[in-house]
Symmetry: C2
């Protein structure tokens, strides 16, 4: 009976989540369409960013604001592949699937439809450009990990501009492709793409240069852009990739541009508030580029901003801080969890393994995160409490031993597969700032969707993520008649 | 420096939160206006309720859906008094203040304006009717704990219908009133109110009976209605109090009715998911009563539903359950945390103190919460894990010792001032269902506001809680000219 109960619950995606209420847009079609997807960006992420900066996010000033449910066909808590497929194609699908229905029948994305309509298409992401969210706009694979097949799909997309992070598996080193066609980067070049991997060349590219794929010289982790807080002026930022996209795509037939803020999610998986906040600011600054364009084309532009799901179970309140909020406590942090564990902790281990105790490492924590180890915590949220010191010491020992994967449920809850010391530091700092985390994975709370421009009022309300695709298709004037090949059944039925 | 940093942060309520964008409504005024306030009801509370029941909440079907920021004048995380003052009067104020600006100048509520306009007015709550949220509609006191003064204000309100919970301090036993006028219940009777405290009499009251104050015979805690899951058929439910309100208030001049789901908040403070879910269902069933009324008066009715703030830092994901959600694990719970600690734990302590160990108590936990102590947790979310068993045993020992208030920060994080055993049981059960909590207090994430009927589209968007009052006033046709005494400055400036 117990097992059955569990099995029943596993599949319980509420029926209401699948109800669709698409208003078919009757006005003049939008010629220029921007879709911004903040990966892992729920309402708490947006609010924490505003509270930290003291300024309203541009996306929150948009006239239309809706709430969007996110569940997948086979799981309440969605993953980025199923979420991106829903947003890109209007097709609810299973976890891990890209550009297809649960039946594996392919579905066309807004980007593919726009391209077929003669528009230019751009795809920008702060993570690898073959990662689940961008890939849902051009690839059709049953498993998001088929990076080689996705890279080949990119080469065959004929889209005009890919930019941000790199490519994860151009040589099929994962050996999970059944259809090897040669080095995917060669295929991309053969398809006519100019490949740009340094800032100087990037700055010089112009619309006449034809199809482009561009990434930053420094790809920090899994072929992604560095976290915004780790970048130097040598790096190309997400707003810069977005501004260049607009320059490259602008043409009389119009364009569709998708920009993903992909590392908001990764920072939230690791429970690092400062890292996701700085990346959310960068993401919002990318949106500002679109708003500037829209000012010049006010009656022809639609800008839609959404999140694909919340990540980390972030809340703006913590037991220990009660009703207090101390967002400024996040100001002293000058490094992402990733860079800290990849560089600082690694170097410390190499230089001091077996010799140095936690006390020796304390000044390094203070230097990069601002946490202090002496003083009265009642007067300063940066002061580490006794129980937090004990947690940090435990974590330090585990880090020095090289422990990382924890099967014990209690230890998993504490560290979630991250470097124990680094994740404990961000937990302590975030908690003292008045922020709580409950998970290292996504959560199932609805996200916010914002819109401005042509047809934007249809983004008010409370709707499932699949509706975002249908609304955009409708506002772009893309109908099943024009795209007879698509399998987007609910849309076709309208 | 440290102290200054802290002081600066304490006051940091973002400036954007105070920006107001009120659209003055130009259409036909609403004659019948409902305002439902789910205390502590953030987006996670609504989503968890939908996931548990498998049905969309009525409030989530409303055509207008907005997001509402909640901060107080002097704190990012709001309290119910400041939040209710903002929603009732459009006045942002300090924590704890009711019906007044930070300067202590009184502000008129929508309810008072409606009464002055010749409409009937009703105030319903599942907590005591002099609690912060209902009191903000008729009282003006600098401290929400002035229950006697609030009870006197109720007697002087001339509102037509008060119902739900009872009165907290009719004799000024807290001795915090500077203006004692005698027993407040006597004042209420002298003002012409019929006082109803049993279900039979309640069912029999009719519109011709004049002004009424009614509460349930069993007031569970702090003069509040019992939790929905603890009620029997002898009790009067929130939907029944709401239906009677409509019957009593319906008249050709129109009415304003505020209904608070007050114990959603209290259950969330205690981190008890089943308790808040059943109360959210009851709250939504109350909204259904208003929707039925609106169907009969489609062009004259406005229904607005909001939350005053999130509570508990609830998220729909927990580290230990990763991407899994097991909402059905909450089904076996048949008692609220309150009733369990008030009755079951109390009785056990009286009967077994010093004799019985945790193992003896296990069957009682299984009986009331469904948690099981043997089996493989991988196949059943109701199985208690080893580390959770250790937490329960620790908590059991503390409960048997009568420990409750914890100054130690680590212990406070674990128990938050609740009965250690009871709150640990709900933590374990909720976590295993895939739900996380981060706090025993409110949090600062925006809430959702839903509206249907006359002027409802103005509730789309992203706005501060004070805007709710101005929107309703505008849609009810209430202007500063009519209510020259009000100090609602921003409204007057329009």
């Amino acid at each position: 009976m117990a097992f059955m109960l569990c099995a029943v619950i596993m599949a319980a995606v509420p029926a209401y989540a699948k109800a669709k209420k698409v208003r078919v847009y009757k006005g003049k079609s939008a010629k220029y369409v921007f879709l911004f997807i903040g990966d892992g960006m729920g309402l708490p992420q947006k609010s924490a960013t505003e509270a930290f900066t003291g300024e309203q996010l541009t996306m929150n000033t948009f006239p239309a604001q809706g709430m969007t449910t996110t569940s997948a066909a086979n799981r309440f808590i969605v993953g980025s592949a199923a979420a991106a497929t829903a947003i890109a194609s209007g097709q609810e699908t299973n976890i891990g699937m890209l550009g297809m229905a649960p039946s594996q029948k392919h579905v066309k994305s807004i980007a593919e439809m726009a391209k077929a309509d003669g528009k230019k298409v751009g795809i920008v992401s702060s993570v690898s450009i073959d990662h689940a969210t961008p890939a849902a706009f051009y690839a059709h694979v049953p498993t998001r990990g088929q990076y080689y097949d996705i890279d080949v799909a990119l080469s065959e997309s004929n889209f005009d501009y890919f930019a941000g992070g790199g490519l994860k598996d151009i040589t099929n080193k994962k050996k999970n492709s059944k259809n090897f066609k040669g080095n995917a980067l060669d295929l991309i070049k053969e398809a006519g793409y100019k490949v740009v991997t340094d800032k100087e060349t990037f700055n010089a590219i112009k619309p006449g240069d034809g199809k482009v794929i561009a990434w930053n010289a420094w790809l920090q982790d899994s072929k992604a852009l560095p976290y915004a807080m780790d970048m130097t002026e040598k790096d190309i930022t997400l707003p810069e990739f977005t501004a260049k996209a607009i320059e490259m795509l602008d043409n009389p037939e119009g364009f569709f541009l998708m920009v993903e803020g992909g590392k908001i999610d990764w920072a939230c998986h690791a429970n690092d508030a400062a890292a996701f906040i700085h990346n959310t600011v960068a993401f919002d600054n990318s949106i500002k580029e679109a708003v500037e364009f829209a000012k010049k084309h006010p009656n022809e532009t639609l800008i839609v901003v959404t999140g694909d799901h919340e990540c980390g179970g972030l809340t703006l309140g913590f037991a220990g801080t009660k009703y207090g909020s101390y967002f400024d406590a996040l100001q002293p942090q000058t490094i992402s969890f990733q860079q800290f564990s990849d560089e600082v902790v690694k170097l410390w281990k190499e230089e001091h393994k077996g010799e140095a105790g936690f006390e020796d490492f304390q000044p390094t924590i203070t230097h990069f995160f601002g946490l202090e180890f002496e003083g009265d915590f009642k007067n300063n949220p940066l002061i580490v409490k006794d129980y937090q010191l004990a947690m940090l010491k435990d974590a330090y020992v585990r880090t020095m031993k090289g422990e990382k994967k924890f099967k014990d449920p209690e230890l998993y809850n504490l560290y979630g597969g991250y470097d124990p010391l680094t994740v404990t530091i961000t937990h302590v700092l975030n908690n003292n700032a008045g922020l709580g985390w409950t998970s290292y994975k996504h959560t199932g709370v609805p996200v916010a969707t914002s819109a401005m421009g042509v047809g934007s009022s249809s983004f008010n309300g409370y709707y499932h993520n699949t509706d975002i695709a249908y609304k955009i298709m409708s506002i772009m004037g893309m109908t099943p008649k024009v795209h007879a090949s698509i399998n987007n059944a609910e849309f076709a039925a309208k």
